[in-house]
Amino acid sequence: MYSCSDLKKGLKILIDGEPHVIANYDFTKPGKGQALYKCKLRNMITGSLFDRTYRSGESFEPASLEERSMQYLYQDESGYVFMDQKNYEQVVLSEATLGDDKYFLVDNMEVEILMYGEIGIGISLPNFVNLRVAQSDPWVKGDTASGNNKPATLETGYTLQVPSFVEEGTLIQVDTRTGEYSTRVKE
């Protein structure tokens, strides 16, 4: 069990049986008054954010989470399906859980899945993924307002800014941490 003095940003605790991560934390105390621990918490399953203030004496159950190496298989109506290559167990993550990460999944890609018991609650992508440009209009010469950039849509449906020389069908590298264009991939 954790006590209030263990609370810090990034700590994962159980609230009402669900794992939460402390997104923001501050200790506060009126000079003569009780110590109060102001937390901003994120529910790791639903992603919802909320504030809660704890006082000394309260205790917290640690949320035990593990990361498992898995391969991305496919998407179907149940969600995004991943498989543990050691024991062939499959885990499904919902679109809401993945958020924007869904745009960076390539078939057969190796990812780390954050597991709470049997539930997948998050994903760690490689820093860079290669994705093909599905649609991008040719750059109009003299369009200085947008610099040398233009919008492009990738095979996964993700839209980003790319340099003017990138054409439809080009394979590009995207930085998954920022969601931005990184470089063109030589094939």
Binding site: S5, D26, F27, T28, K29, P30, G31, K32, G33, Q34, A35, L36, K38, T53, R55, S56, G57
Partner: protein, 303 residues
């Protein structure tokens, strides 16, 4: 050889801090206050439910120089100030350092109203143009500063009355979460007349036995100082110490020894008033700093 750039970048703040502390000294010396130094390692602090002392051998580091200052008052010293370090266990946050700098001053034959005037004059002396710029807000320091009673603050800003908050043990929580964030940020404010249960060493208000003659000074949304007219009845003081001790025990906290010499000498203390002001937070205000770590050279994590 690696230069500590984090520390080197604090030069402007540390130079300003030194000038401000000098100006504080000059302010009190000009007004005929005696600067004193009392031991920081002591056998007993005033027992308070919510203040935990750090042990130092068989004794403790002071949580405040209060008891020593009052023994000086009782011995006939009428105007006193001290700038010293205090230690409070487990207090670490954006506005809290476990070791921090405290300014305390005491006046005989005065009550807490005189201390409000002192605060107004001290800040006038420190801020040459009568204003402070803090976190994007301009704070007008011209006196008199607004006063608001705790009862009125609860009526105005909290979902409960002060009586209900005390019954539900939510007094501190509502001060921090409901009242402090809504206090006006463009003027200093004295929050006054605390419930008698929230004042272990303060005098009861003669015209209202439910409250103590105590105030907290807020500037820029920060609690900066705590002050009160001193309780000088040794019998009542001993009872309040015993009550705080009993509350500490039932909260599972370590018991503290009784400060006997202080209780013995309290009988000769004149009517007085005293105040404790956090110097690090004052430096935050004058240097426009967002967290207390930036007001000192070396926060504990950097030691």
């Amino acid at each position: 050889m690696v230069k500590n750039w984090q520390l080197a970048r604090k030069r402007t703040t540390l130079e300003k801090r030194a000038r401000i502390v000098q100006a504080i000294r000059a302010f009190f010396i000009e007004r005929d206050f005696l600067e004193v130094e009392t031991p920081q390692r002591i056998p007993a602090n005033a027992p308070e439910l919510n203040i935990d002392a750090m042990a130092s051998g068989d004794w403790f580091l002071q949580t405040s120089p209060e008891l020593a200052m009052k023994r000086l008052l009782a011995a006939g010293y009428e105007r006193l100030f001290q700038i010293c370090h205090c230690w409070r266990d487990g207090e670490r946050g954006r506005l809290h350092l476990p070791e921090y700098s405290m300014l305390e001053w005491y006046r005989a034959d005065c009550d807490y109203h005189s201390l409000m005037t002192d605060c107004e004059e001290l800040f006038q002396a420190l801020a040459s143009d009568g204003r402070l710029c803090f976190q994007g807000k301009s704070i007008d320091l011209s006196p008199p500063w607004p006063r608001l009673t705790v009862t009125e603050a609860f009526n105005r800003y909290a979902p409960l009355s002060v009586e209900a908050a005390l019954r539900q043990d939510r007094f501190d929580e509502l001060i921090v979460t409901a009242i402090e964030p809504q206090l006006p940020k463009d003027r200093p404010l004295f929050l006054t007349e605390y419930p008698i249960s929230q004042a272990a060493l303060a005098r009861q208000k003669p015209t209202d036995p439910n409250v103590a003659e105590r105030f907290e000074l807020y500037i820029g949304g920060m609690e900066l100082a705590n002050a009160f007219s001193e309780l000088i009845d040794p019998v009542e003081q001993r009872q309040r110490f015993l009550k705080e001790e009993a509350q500490r025990r039932s909260a599972g906290k370590p018991a503290y020894p009784v400060a006997e010499p202080f209780l013995q000498e309290l009988a000769t203390m004149p009517e007085s008033a005293g105040i404790a002001l956090g110097i690090d937070r004052l430096i935050m205000l004058f240097c426009n700093l967002d967290k207390i770590d930036d007001s000192v050279a070396l926060p504990p994590e950097n030691l």
